[in-house]
Amino acid sequence: MANAHPHGARLPLRWDIFCRVIDNYGDIGVCWRLAVQLAQRGHSVRLFADDPSALRWMAPLGCPGVVVAAGLEPAAPYDPPDVVIDAFGVGLTAAVLKALARRNGAHGRVVAWLNLEYLSAEPYAAASHGLASPVHGGAAAGVRKWFFFPGFTPDTGGLLREPELARRQAQFDRWSWLHDRGTVNTGQRVLSLFCYEPAVLPAWLLSLAAQAAQRPVDVLVTHGRATRAVQAALAQLPADWNPGARVTLRYLPALTQPDFDHLLWSADVNFVRGEDSLVRALWAGVPFIWHIYPQEDQAHLAKLAAFLEVLDEPAHPGLSAYFYWWNGAVPGPAPQLQDERWQPIFAAARSRLLAQDDLVTRLLRFVAENR
């Protein structure tokens, strides 16, 4: 018989997570972290992804307790586990839905079916978190599912955070990691760059060159879109944009999830994009600028504004100005990077968030209460 677990859910539970890779690997990155953190707490997890190939570089060692399957259609006959997670609107196949309906119609056995939603600091996340969603049509008509909204407040689903994070961070040697990647400590400022294609990138590079006159700058550019964006930006700049070569651009290979943390922990300022790296940047406790996923009708700007309230930003208008400028919401020259002034903001935000339960703890509690 399964034992009671301190987080409220009986062990072991079986979980299936369904994930579709749209772009940028954030979806599968979050789902992988969730799967690993569930497995680390003794649960069995299957991660179904339409394209799991990114895990080859993101998580080459895999994780005990996590089975990765390519494709969103499990082998027939599908035997639903204890918990099914539909991540970010992937949509479950008809065969899976029928199996859920069959299982939830059977006496004494219920599958908890959860929609894992996108992260937002907007009020709707807390208002909608944990609400039921009756299924009115299709193969699973009559089955109930729930919406689980990650968030920054105790009345949301919380943020992913592994238990060993603080220990890893305390043991990390920044300059040793940077040295292994060709960066020697000469007193320079270190920036990391993980972005989409900010229109201000050429102007940003020029502003770094100007600031580097006083203190050289190393920019660690992540693999993929950020590298391509920097190279496109450089093509727009004059050949002498970087007098004295005091800005050094270092192009990184694709990083594992642990190494992405190391990158964030190594920098003086991080430029991050999307949701997963936003959360990792918060845990890093280092000043960062967030490139939010752009949406139609500029809907992302309301989300950006809501997030700045999480940082308790209004007292520090220079920070929000930089966020809006980086996201193309306000024109003008590059604002000043004021990482030393901003550091206490990020340290305080990290402390506030660390005081809350992490997402998996809240998820286990939710499943125990609603299954």
Binding site: F88, N115, Y124, L131, A132, S133, H136, G137, E296
Partner: protein, 184 residues
């Protein structure tokens, strides 16, 4: 069946075996242009309340109801009174008026919605034209419409509008979303 994003306050949907009136439908943009809809419901028969959430394109079973063209007459607390072309009057509880209260004005044409012969809610036109009774001063020359400011209607409802809109302007509003469409 309708999609969740088509459901409006005043609609009646099935929740299990219970018909429930939608008191409020809140549409929220999530990540990557996806959206969710949160519905505040009250049972038509049970009078119990609940809240549910859907993805915007989830199917929701709507109860088809009878509709009648009416105009708004007056408020007799707690009922809003509407009249049809034959001068018959129908009362709708204020708690069931939903978003219609944001746009209500004397003589306004609406559809009164009936369930089992009883007036339960109203549906307003998909767009209305209303005067801005208060907003911050307009900024001359900026017609980009990129930044928004609040504008208040006579009902007290606030609509985000471009900064060039001035007090006294008439604006067209999409009543399904509460969004500004254009200056009239």
């Amino acid at each position: 069946m309708k999609t969740a994003q088509e459901i409006r306050a005043g609609n009646v949907v099935m929740h299990g075996k219970d018909p429930m009136i939608v008191l409020r439908a809140e549409y929220s943009r999530g990540g990557r242009n996806a959206a969710t809809v949160r519905l505040k419901l009250r049972g038509l028969l049970s009078n119990t309340g609940t809240e549910v959430v859907f993805r915007a394109d989830d199917k929701v079973e709507q109860v088809m109801l009878d509709h009648k063209d009416c105009t708004y007459s007056y408020f007799a607390d707690p009922m809003y009174v509407f009249m049809d072309a034959d001068y018959n009057q129908y009362e709708v509880e204020s708690g069931n008026m939903g978003d219609a209260l944001n746009y209500l004005e004397d003589g306004m044409p609406v559809e009164v919605v009936f369930y089992d012969g009883k007036a339960i809610s109203v549906e307003v036109p998909t767009s209305v034209e209303r005067e801005v009774i208060w907003t911050e001063p307009a900024v001359k020359g900026d017609t980009s419409g990129k930044v928004l400011k609040p504008a208040k209607l006579a009902t007290g409802f606030e609509v985000p509008v471009p900064i060039f809109v001035a007090q006294g302007d008439k604006i067209e509003i999409d009543t399904r979303t509460g969004e500004y469409r254009r200056r009239v």
